[in-house]
């Protein structure tokens, strides 16, 4: 009698697997993404991903915004390391406009980008710890993430979605407080990172949970479009900072850590080693910045009058500055026509910006090449045949940030 009223889905009585909805709101998924898993007992038979829960139509919005109003959109891509997104966007605009930034600006940008990379890798690695049951690491390094956010706050005013920098440089020079905080970070952080490594790297339980889990070969990774630490863990040493150096990365010496099997343990180790290399870069860049003396030490932006707001005292006294200020704020600057693709090494991989300009005031087409979106496709292949708990660890070790996945 009751079967006449209940309409069951096709094949749901005969099927032998369990459907588990690892739903969009779940404490283990970092950000909103859904996985519908078919489980045979505890083994995963198949997985289907649903993304788009935080799709905010950035590409459509960007077609109606002048260039500096698109920077806050780029913040919200990979929100754990938003300075890298901002710098990537500014570099793309500078490539289109043909702007050369002075060396000091490049070195300051490197400091900020590497701090963002450390912040993102810290979040990822400590969350891998949390997902395997070890909460202490996450809470302990929180203090140093706070210090990084305080450094951003000194420069741009915001902590997380920073909108840092301008086309051609920075909005203000780094003040003494910012430099002191950077020095404090350089002094204190190595010891903290060492302690964090001691917690996990040779920890028997952590190694059992992560070695051999979610591994991928280099060929499959390249075919899936992996970039960044996930690809380097699989053995391919592709890093945009070395392949096509931007922002004077070629002036610095740093190593690229590479793994072998591409499993979660390798990804964890690669990210840790990248944090050490980032520290090295920040230290070298900081020393180079300190070497600028006199008038050179006051340079913090290139001369781009069409896109860089003039200082307020000039706006009130000089005619040209007033005109530029008006034109910039009212959005009446036309861009040169052209199409450009520029990419930077984001914390997750190659973050690309494909920008088509038709000579108007806003982009004709702006497309973000988002690494998370591209490599999340491989998730099913990574977890097929493994246990449910492995699926959680793989998801967090891939460093999936929902903002970057959906844009």
């Amino acid at each position: 009698m009751s079967e006449q009223h209940i309409k069951l889905p096709e094949g749901s009585i005969e099927k032998t697997t369990t459907t588990l909805n690892l739903g969009p709101t779940h404490p283990a998924t970092h950000g909103v993404m859904q996985n519908i898993l078919e489980l045979d007992g505890e083994r995963i038979v198949s997985a289907e991903q649903t993304v788009g829960y935080i799709h905010r139509a950035f590409e459509k919005i960007a077609e109606r915004r002048p260039l500096y109003q698109i920077t806050p959109l780029t913040d919200r891509l990979n929100y754990c390391s938003s300075p890298i997104n901002n710098m990537g966007w500014h570099l793309t605009c500078e490539k289109l406009l043909g702007v050369q930034t002075p060396k000091r600006v490049d070195y300051l940008r490197i400091i900020i980008m590497e701090l963002a990379r450390i912040s993102d890798h810290l979040i990822c690695n400590s969350i891998v710890g949390v997902d395997s049951g070890a909460y202490t690491g996450f809470l302990y390094v929180m203090q140093y993430r706070e210090l990084i956010y305080e450094i951003y706050e000194e420069i741009c005013g915001s902590r997380l979605t920073t909108n840092i920098g301008r086309i051609g440089g920075f909005e203000r020079n780094f003040n003494d407080i910012a430099f002191r905080k950077i020095e404090k970070f350089l002094d204190e952080y190595p010891r903290v990172l060492k302690e964090f490594e001691n917690l996990f790297t040779r920890n028997r339980i952590f190694m059992d949970r992560t070695i051999g889990v979610g591994s991928i070969s280099a060929e499959r990774a390249l075919n899936y479009g992996f970039t960044g630490p996930n690809l380097r863990a699989a053995g391919v040493d592709y890093d945009v900072r070395v392949h096509s150096p931007y922002s004077s990365y070629e002036d610095f010496e740093f190593d690229i850590p590479v793994g072998t099997t591409g499993d979660c343990y390798d990804r964890f180790l690669v990210r840790n080693q990248e944090m050490w290399q980032s520290l090295r870069l920040i230290r070298d860049a900081y020393q180079k910045v300190q070497e600028f003396k006199g008038a050179e030490a006051d340079v913090y932006h290139a001369d781009v009058p069409e896109y860089y707001l003039p200082p307020k005292q000039d706006v009130y006294t000089k005619m040209e500055a007033l005109i530029w200020h008006f034109k910039i704020i009212m959005g009446e600057i036309d861009m040169p026509p052209g199409e450009v693709y520029n990419s930077v090494e984001g914390a997750n991989g190659e973050l690309g910006f494909y920008f088509i300009s038709d000579g108007g005031r806003t982009p004709y087409r702006l497309h973000f090449r988002r690494p998370c979106f591209i490599y999340y496709q491989a998730y099913e292949e990574l977890i097929k045949g493994s246990m449910l708990s492995d699926a959680i660890i793989v998801m967090s070790s891939l460093n999936l940030i929902a903002g970057e996945m959906d844009a």
Binding site: G52, A57, K60, G331, G338, Y341, G352, Y354
Partner: protein, 195 residues
């Protein structure tokens, strides 16, 4: 060293006049081909030992309204990781018949990128294993990034963006045609009931 000239020579040798529109904006070789040839060109660039474009960096769509046969574009960004060379390859399709062969057989990363391009532009990728919307809701019945759709859904009556300049959101995309607004005209053309 693999130079843009060399790539261009090899492409012209193999495909004669079926590859055209060679340009080098900002140092990246860009060219076009008819849409039936897209897989042949991609396979050629993948297989040849002196070209080796084996990494698909990006796949996206662009809409050029009013261009007839060349209205919708699919742009492939390919990367040769060993010699560090990037190229850009475009295929075009008309809005009335936006069919393009899928590249998922060659690059697994094209799967979701083509779904995103379908979601935004309505380009039908022939042979795609799972062509449905990925970022927008499944019930959406139009393709939002086409230029004749406004940034905001016109059904809201509680706000008026006219004062915000640049045309606001009223009147943009609501231009009248013989069958009502542009959105209604599309539905009519697709054979559905006129609202």
């Amino acid at each position: 060293m693999l130079s843009n000239e060399h790539i261009k020579q090899r492409l012209i040798e193999k495909f004669n006049d079926q590859v055209y529109g060679f340009e080098e904006p900002y140092g990246t070789l860009t060219f076009e081909a008819p849409r039936e040839m897209n897989l042949k060109v991609l396979n050629f660039l993948y297989d040849e030992e002196d070209l080796k474009f084996r990494f698909l960096t990006d796949l996206c769509g662009v809409h050029f309204p009013g261009q007839g046969e060349k209205e919708l574009a699919v742009v492939y960004h390919l990367h040769n990781l060993e010699d560090n060379v990037r190229i850009r390859f475009k295929v075009f399709a008309p809005l009335s018949k936006p069919d393009i062969y899928t590249a998922t057989g060659l690059f697994s990363s094209a799967n979701w990128m083509e779904r995103e391009t379908y979601d935004f532009y309505g380009i039908n990728f022939i042979g795609h294993p799972n062509l449905r919307r990925i970022l927008n809701v499944d019930e959406m019945d139009y393709f939002p990034l086409l230029k004749h759709y406004p940034l905001e859904d016109q059904s809201r009556v509680d706000k008026d963006d006219e004062m915000f300049g640049r045309g606001g959101s009223i009147g943009f995309g609501t231009a009248k045609t013989d069958h009502g607004t542009v959105v209604e005209a599309e539905k009519h053309n697709a054979g559905e009931e006129k609202v």
